[in-house]
Subunit: 265 residues, 4 copies
Amino acid sequence: MVAPCQCSKSSSAVKAAANLEDKYLSDDPNHPANLICELCRLFYDNNWVTGTGGGISIRDTKGENPNLVYIAPSGIQKEKLQPWEMFVAELPDEKLLRTPNDCPPELTKSYKYKPSACTPLFMSCYSMRDAGACIHTHSQAAVMCTLLWEDKVEFEISHIEQIKALPRLKFNESTKKIEKVGSMDYFDKLVIPIIENTPHEEDLTDSLQEAIKNYPGTTAVLVRRHGIYVWGEDVWKAKVYNEAIDYLLELAVKMKQSGIPTVRK
Amino acid sequence: MVAPCQCSKSSSAVKAAANLEDKYLSDDPNHPANLICELCRLFYDNNWVTGTGGGISIRDTKGENPNLVYIAPSGIQKEKLQPWEMFVAELPDEKLLRTPNDCPPELTKSYKYKPSACTPLFMSCYSMRDAGACIHTHSQAAVMCTLLWEDKVEFEISHIEQIKALPRLKFNESTKKIEKVGSMDYFDKLVIPIIENTPHEEDLTDSLQEAIKNYPGTTAVLVRRHGIYVWGEDVWKAKVYNEAIDYLLELAVKMKQSGIPTVRK
Amino acid sequence: MVAPCQCSKSSSAVKAAANLEDKYLSDDPNHPANLICELCRLFYDNNWVTGTGGGISIRDTKGENPNLVYIAPSGIQKEKLQPWEMFVAELPDEKLLRTPNDCPPELTKSYKYKPSACTPLFMSCYSMRDAGACIHTHSQAAVMCTLLWEDKVEFEISHIEQIKALPRLKFNESTKKIEKVGSMDYFDKLVIPIIENTPHEEDLTDSLQEAIKNYPGTTAVLVRRHGIYVWGEDVWKAKVYNEAIDYLLELAVKMKQSGIPTVRK
Amino acid sequence: MVAPCQCSKSSSAVKAAANLEDKYLSDDPNHPANLICELCRLFYDNNWVTGTGGGISIRDTKGENPNLVYIAPSGIQKEKLQPWEMFVAELPDEKLLRTPNDCPPELTKSYKYKPSACTPLFMSCYSMRDAGACIHTHSQAAVMCTLLWEDKVEFEISHIEQIKALPRLKFNESTKKIEKVGSMDYFDKLVIPIIENTPHEEDLTDSLQEAIKNYPGTTAVLVRRHGIYVWGEDVWKAKVYNEAIDYLLELAVKMKQSGIPTVRK
């Protein structure tokens, strides 16, 4: 999948945003509303969010108010998202500060936007892990791993160099938070919990929270027959962790198909 | 496959179109003639319409006359299509209102254009399902599924999240039409009929119509050893359904190869 | 593989070419020297000509002198080719009319260009089949088919829709030439001869010519453990035939791996 | 993976670089600092350096001081690298002449850059083989080959045309150096040593140097469960060798999975 070049479209969208004089929009390409659009195009090209699947949310960790959370809308073609289509909520009470439904009808064309169905799951990552961004994809490698190990509740892999891109997480007794204390080692075993899918995305919240609690070392949760949630300290860490994990999941599928165990004794 | 960037070419083509003062062409990137070109480039990059295979038709559902149907020409390289190369017909009697053969010879270079051989199949989707657009691809995942289940007349898959991107369709007693009443559920079984291929594309019409009649819940028909037809209420719905179905067909090939049943009991 | 965007580079190259006042170069994007560059970038993105592999030659069938043949140089990164780097020869005696070695040293940087090692093979397609263009790739699907059917001297496939993109060829008694008389049918068996590889590319000439002679219906020759040669009446036909054949070779590998015969009885 | 188009960003980065009046930066697209950025985007698109994996170093073989070596920083997203982020060291004593940490804080945002962990390995290629550039990727084909032949310390392949893209290397008695004396032949056996991975990348140095010493004919070393190092006389040769080797590794995985030996007796 290669999304059409958005060079010119993006800049005109940015201008339209400027005209809106909307304090939740910006010309800065690193603004959360703009980054969500850029990353969704990238994820679409990777076949991770085709068919309106998947989602992303970014907390404005570098902005004036680091409690602001930007959330992509539900059911929209991810590669065509525009910055003005974002929802904005404020932590910790998740008060909705901005909805694209307040934009002029020339933009919304009277479409009624809803925040991503993943919103309560994103919020769990923010509240339980102090995440700076959370990515959800329908990656086929993720789905295949949950099918190839259908009787397991954990995906495991060890002794692959790419594991070193993932964070070593530890409970900090003084801050009472899970914090990054370095990177995983080559010989470490990466363990990602797999939770069972539910008919409604929001119903995943309880089991996702339980997995986050039970696996203090994980920065991701796989959802059987569905996809994966990955979070990180900021948007770029979340992106890098997601890439590294997807690389490992893709490799694990190939290893399984060739009869090579993913964990070396 | 990555079609060459058409940034500059497209805009000059749009200008050429404007010079034609042709009421079936427009500067608006969302005009059917322009969207057919954009989507064909995208489909080419997905290996769905290489070698002049596949086709697409869009009904101008948002235009002044929603009975106007735009149809790509037959046998042309899909990634190089230009807006002026479209045929336009009017429903319900399918009267041809525009042919690219009326364009100046500087453009046509005396090539004799013919409407896509899929035209009667597209028309079946318009007349029987009130579709807003119809997509036909030679997707290898689609062909492989018809080969891996060669003795079946239906492709089936259940319990995969991506199924939720597809529409729940139901016969409306008052309008006497099949209408979308929501989306499919995660645990629903998606069933797509498979019809046998024929030497001439137009000879598929009868069996396609029969499949549409017999499967009121489907928004797609697979053609054995050939590809797939997917339609939707408008062009973007058709695109999203096609992406979601292709994702599921690709996954089904992998599941079959790993001995995992596509339907969970 | 996605070659870096050449939008701006190409146009400056065209300008540089114009400055050269070279009658074998042109601003027209459809000029053979420009098309070779465009197609090589496309082929690179398809993994067909990476590592300087593969090659292409175009005859100027629409130009003033249709006997002029443009040939890409040997051993150059295909995705970085510039129009001024082409060789030009004239049929039938293959006299060399232009070599990039005559360009100013600012361009050549004193590199000594040689015409593609495929040149005698391209010439065979021109002389024996009156081809308008000839494409040579190291496609992995092509190599895999010659390995999966290592004991066969023909690749065969039938009853796949994409076969219809290929030409039906016949000997014309009056012109004494092999000519296109239509397209293949869905149920036709496509047969592509496989010749054995040789240490030096030019040593393939005899067996390629023999295959062309023995298979009057073919528009391509596979080379065992090496790749494929595909030609057509003009450059676009050659491109479309090559795409359609590669689609079929890719599908054939998948069919073989799933135990599905490529020819239906 | 398709990295976002950097057309406009690159040029502004080049301008920012110019403002820096930094003698290790240049407007010339062929300058090592610019080439590292261009190639990292290309490698990212090939899934070779996702998740900050991999690395590259280029020696300024065409510049005033051919002992200058440019090195990408450690742990940065490879597709987003900017020319000013490079380290520069001088051979043979590897004295660090430039660090991005000296750039203004508007650029560095106080991030503390470190040179790639591969630096001692790159330096081994420069000192032992007089290389002009060295590429390190986490290519899945490379990792899979080290897993599929887990009990072997060499990867072998013969009788594939693409082998001819690789150099024939020989010890020159008068210069006391390993030098390129031509290209490999089709029927030659390409042998690439496989070394075992270590927890820390720099600890690979000894075994990499031993492999380089023991395999005078190789231009690459595979690292088990990790990736590959490839070098060449200059940056373009290194790129071409890396592409050709990755093509062969990808093919070898397919051959192994189909039970076809990679070496023909």
